[in-house]
């Protein structure tokens, strides 16, 4: 069971630039490793990450095997309105996870 850690300020003043930190637990198997028997370990990574703020996309990332296991991504946005941040991770083997966080903008 995959799990996400999200860090978004609960409250912000309108117009503040806030930092959003996200971490999704995932092995991020690069697809370049071999077992001791010489077999290639198939790739299993998160390939895309999206963040929406009250429905509008504010951040998107394409991820590659060079992203470390349990991808940690942090970025910024301007606090405009109270509402919800929605996060979505999509990856190999049908991996799809979502998370959300609420913010109050005064």
């Amino acid at each position: 069971m995959a799990s996400a850690l999200i860090n978004v300020p609960k409250k912000a003043k309108r117009g503040d630039v806030i930092e959003i930190k996200t971490l999704m637990s995932h092995i991020m198997e690069s697809g370049f490793r071999h077992t001791s028997a010489g077999d290639l370990v198939p790739r299993d990574i998160i390939t895309s990450f999206v963040c929406r703020y009250n429905g509008a996309e504010i951040f998107r990332a394409d991820l590659f095997p060079a992203i470390a296991a349990n991808p940690f991504i942090s970025f910024f946005t301007v606090a405009k309105d109270s509402g919800k941040f929605e996060f979505e991770w999509i990856g190999d083997n049908g991996f799809a996870e979502t998370a959300s966080a609420a913010i109050t903008v005064e």
Partner: protein, 157 residues
């Protein structure tokens, strides 16, 4: 009287040069020095547009013990207004099996053009960050990283 180079002054000079040589581990180099795969990956993103050095800051430790998780932050100097903002930030590496690290798409609503992630480095190598601005110009920064324990390609136990 002119000072002749004595053994002592020579040693001081040599010592100074050795010391100076260890300090600038993070250096900015022109893009043409990069190997073919890295260059191809960059061209894939920027097309034929010229990539200029500047505006971008790539924060990454110059010496890494464990290449499996390397903290990295890319910052772009931009006012982030509706008319002048950063569209995307692209990170590449030189010697991993694949030259791409990540593409990050932002916009004027970001307020600050800065992205952090943890990455893998399979070897001592150069990391390149490229930013695409709203006027479709490309700016870059690169950093050399020394990795003592490589990532990605080791055997699975």
């Amino acid at each position: 009287m002119r000072a002749m180079p004595t053994r002592r002054t020579f040693l001081e000079l040599a010592g100074g040069a050795a010391l100076a040589g260890t300090v600038p581990v993070v250096t900015i180099r022109p893009l043409q020095a990069t190997p073919a795969m890295l260059n191809a990956a960059i061209r894939n993103v920027v097309g034929e547009a010229p990539v200029r050095a500047g505006k971008v800051t790539l924060d990454i430790p110059p010496l890494v013990e464990n290449g499996n998780t390397v903290p990295m932050t890319v910052r772009v100097a931009s006012p982030m207004t509706e008319k002048d903002y950063v569209k995307s930030i692209h990170v590449f590496n030189e010697k991993n099996p694949q030259p791409n690290v990540g593409n990050f798409y932002i916009g004027p609503m970001a307020g600050r053009a800065q992205v952090s992630a943890r990455i893998r480095l399979a070897d001592t190598q150069k990391v390149v960050a490229i930013a695409r601005l709203s006027d479709d110009t490309f700016w870059s920064a690169s950093a050399d990283v020394i990795v003592t324990l490589a990532a990605c390609t080791e055997e699975v136990n």
